[in-house]
């Protein structure tokens, strides 16, 4: 197997005076979906933001595509091919759905075929193409955030809880879309609380606690082992 | 007891406590501690501006409402005194009637502006008040028959409060009505300031803070936002008007430049920000510093420029005539170095 598209080595991140990430080691293999799991407040979002550059790592290295990006500005990382779906969706609410999508393409206009594909997965976006994004429903905003990150080909997607607030029907189309992305060769780092989604999509998994990655391994192993789940996340996921 | 007087809002920093005490002592004993008319005038001005700035902080720091019309209310109070004293003749009844009328007018106007325009977006509200305030300033100059126009009004206050009233000596200082006048200003400012401090630390004050943070949610938990904002505007307007009345009593002159100009509005803004928004004590620090700078910066620059006379360029830049430029630089630097105001900075130091 080739080297991973992304790897974090002993990454520490401070937010204000708090020491949040306390040495995160993480690898995202090429062409795979890696799940990042853990309880509320363990630092999953902070990890993604550190990779994206929205928080700066105090120490440690972030290697992306063989290159050290630990000190690169945010926009350079994005142009290097990282797509980001933040936890709060980051919708530009004054802009229309179309304008949000246009901004998703840094290198040119929105490709026609790509648009078709995305609107196929998220038809609601087509219906409200010219409406202000701020007026969308919660789930529609979530769809827009995902679609915007996918508006252009990226190598690596960082996706923070994409299924929250989505109706089951949309969850499955979204899962399908992610699978198709993977099929096109993209790698994905996905934070998810919905265990069935995690199980259905994940190739590998990493579990965080207290600002560290405490377990990594194949998703299948975690999915089957209830004791492991109990130990790592405090609760068996099936129970829920 | 003291904590009660301060409404439980302690300075929360040793340095701040010390500075506040020094200011209080200096102001309380100004006539006897300092020599001459200039320091006394400066002290009175500081008292009045502390009150004015604190009333603005209620609106801005606690209510999150940016208004440029604060000097308008200040002016109403001042003109109240001026008009009452001109038409009713010198006397305490004129002072009472004038300040009451001024405050009442301020409340009514604030109510109108508030109910009408607090519904528009915050930034538009700011611009509307800017436009209204500038229009009022022009109106005052146009209705010169009543207001004295650009030239303003000079009038007489009760003789007891002027230097003509000689009352003997105390601690080696000649006590005159002027000192009496100063203590009127000082006491009234202190009491009103404590009242404001109480208001911002009351349940009402907390609601204001919540509204500033997230008015949408405040409404959703049952607070009628427009009413709270309007009441805050009215309270702050009334206090500003009273500050204006004190200023008019002290100055015995009222004109658009002393009470209504946009410049004063900016000075108030700067005082609030330098001191620290939403802290009330910031008003004390900000007003004291700024008035001292305004009064003595030029003298200081004069000596600095003489001292550096031998050097090239520097004396030119330090020329007292360029003091406005330094004031502008002060505006910029204070925002740079005290993003949360001096009070905020002092409290942070304690926290870390």
């Amino acid at each position: 197997m080739s080297e991973p598209i992304l790897s974090l080595r002993a990454v520490h991140t401070d937010i204000a005076q708090y020491h949040i990430l306390q040495g995160v080691d993480l690898e995202v293999p090429r062409g795979q979906v890696t799940m990042l799991l853990g309880r509320n407040g363990v630092g999953k979002t902070t990890t993604l933001k550190t990779i994206m550059g929205q928080w700066t790592a105090k120490s440690g290295n972030i290697l992306y595509d063989g290159q050290d990006i630990t000190r690169l500005p945010v926009s350079a990382r994005a142009r290097g091919g990282i797509g980001f779906v933040p936890e709060d969706m980051g919708i530009f609410s004054d802009l229309t759905v179309e304008e949000n999508m246009v901004l998703g393409c840094t290198s040119g206009p929105l490709d026609g075929a790509r648009k078709e594909w995305l609107l196929g997965a998220f038809p609601a976006l087509g219906t409200f193409w010219d409406s202000e994004a701020g007026n969308l429903s919660g789930g529609q905003k979530q769809m827009l955030s995902i679609a915007r990150a996918m508006a252009e080909d990226r190598q690596l997607y960082l996706i923070d809880e994409p299924t929250k607030g989505l109706a089951p029907a949309i969850v499955s189309t979204m899962a399908q879309a992610l699978r198709e992305l993977k099929g096109q060769g993209a790698s994905i780092l996905l934070v998810e609380q919905n265990f069935s989604v995690a199980r259905a999509l994940g190739d590998g998994a990493a579990v965080m606690d207290d600002g560290r990655v405490i377990w990594t391994g194949p998703m299948a192993e975690l999915a089957e082992n209830k004791d492991l789940q109990e130990r790592l996340m405090g609760l068996s996921m099936e129970a829920h | 007891m003291i904590v009660k007087l301060l409404s439980g809002d302690k300075p929360r920093s040793a340095v701040l406590t010390a500075v506040l005490l020094v200011i209080l002592i200096c102001l309380a004993g100004a006539p006897f501690i300092f020599d001459g008319v200039r320091p006394l005038d400066t002290a009175a001005r500081i008292c009045i501006f502390i009150l004015l700035v604190a009333s603005y902080d209620l609106l801005l720091g606690y209510g999150g409402i940016v208004s440029f019309a604060h000097t308008m209310f200040f002016g109403l109070g001042a003109y109240g005194i001026a008009l009452a004293s001109t038409h009713m003749g010198r006397g305490f009844d004129a002072l009472l009637a004038g300040s009451f009328a001024g405050a009442l007018a301020a409340v009514v106007l604030a109510l109108l502006i508030g109910l009408f325009s607090l519904r528009v977006r915050a930034i538009f509200f700011a611009m509307i008040t800017l436009a209204v305030a500038s229009a009022v300033a022009v109106l005052v100059s146009q209705f010169s028959a009543i207001t004295g126009g650009e030239d303003g009004l000079t009038y007489k206050i009760p003789r007891v409060l002027t230097s003509a009233n000689r009352m003997g000596e105390f601690l080696g200082t000649r006590v005159s009505g002027k000192i009496l006048n100063y203590y009127l200003v000082f006491t009234a400012s202190l009491l009103l300031f404590l009242l404001l401090l109480r208001i911002v630390n009351s349940p009402f004050g907390r609601v204001l803070q919540a509204i500033r943070e997230n008015d949408f949610r405040a409404e959703a938990i049952g607070y009628r936002v427009v009413w709270y904002r309007t009441v805050a505007t009215c309270l702050s307007a009334a206090t500003a008007a009273l500050a204006g009345s004190l200023f008019a009593i002290w100055l015995r002159y009222v004109g658009p430049d002393t009470t209504l100009s946009f410049e004063i509005m900016l000075d108030i803004l700067l005082m609030v920000v330098i001191g620290g928004m939403g802290t009330m004590y910031g008003a004390v620090i900000g007003a004291t510093l700024f008035i001292l700078a305004q009064t003595y910066l030029q003298n200081l620059m004069g000596s600095a420029s003489e001292a550096t006379a031998a050097l090239p360029l520097i004396p030119d830049l330090l020329d007292p005539d360029r003091w406005l430029m330094w004031l502008g630089i002060l505006f910029i630097l204070s925002v740079y170095f005290f993003p949360s105001g001096i009070v905020g900075r002092l409290r942070e130091r304690r926290a870390s």
Binding site: - | V37, R38, D41, T154, L251, G255, P256, T258, D321
Partner: protein
Amino acid sequence: EIRIAHVYGKTGPFEAYAAQSHIGLQLGLEYATGGTMEIDGEKIVVIEKDTQLKPDIGRAQLEEAFGDDDAHIAVGPVSSGVALAMLPVAEEYERVLIVEPAVADSITGANWNPYIFRTGRNSSQDAIANAVALGGEGVTIATLAQDYAFGRDGVAAFKEALEATGASIAHEEYVPTDTTDFTAAAERIFTKMGEVEGEKKLFVIWAGGGNPMGKINAMEPERFGIEIATGGNILAALKAYKELPGMEGATYYYYEIPQNPVNEWLVKTHFERFDSPPDFFTAGGMASGLAIVEAIKKAGGAEDTEALIEAMKGMAWETPKGTMQFRAEDHQAMQTMYHFRTEIQDGKDYGVPVLVREIGMDEMNIPIRNQ
């Protein structure tokens, strides 16, 4: 020593006027003392105070000057608002304040007190001089002024004085102080004046920036037979007069007009030292300096304010504008004004006011308003 406080708006929008005024004061003292800066062996000390053009600060500065610095006489300020705030201080401290160059009538009118003298002209003097210059049998005049005290008082005084000359006012137009577009005002005036027969003039009273004469002139008032007229102005503003050759009015000072030794010295010295001609406020400042020395000499010292006031009441003295005289009733200095006509001259990039005739102080009936 003799302490003279110059309390004036050194900083702020009138910085330029302030500088002129101060230079003038110094030159006046210098000329009057023959360069010694001493009166009867007493050294003259000039203390400068900046009002920042704010009445409250001006007042505090004057209090400081009288109270802390123990100044004998104060001079200033530039702005009328500041002056009015300062008047009571003079009374309180019982010291003389010579107002120069603030112009509001009420300084020597309703708000006057016995300690106030003014060497500068007042609004009425300006307006009446213009009325004398422009008026005449059968002339119809419209006025354009800013809508505030200065404009309205000016027009009122102008109108009163105009009656005596047989001219009549057809229309008074007032516009907000900061007006920049004069189209509407001009249209209103044209509409009113269009119906009138005979000689028609539009008299403009304007203070501060803006250039209504030029704007209205561009709208071709000659279509309606209207001539534009206005009072004199400081040198810089005369540029705008270049578009209006032949325009008439009355002015307070232009350095080439007065012919007397004081002015000759002033013009020569000013060119020598500053390489530029003296202006309105230089002349005014000098007049105040000359008045001070004259008064102190006459009173035999500056300590006794009552004696000073006695000396100054009715005092006549020489200035760059010829003889001035403090009127006993309201302490306003009576002075000559100049009827001018604008000419274009080679080498000057402004419209030059050329003397038509001097309007002597006895020709102008300046009302006394302090009673």
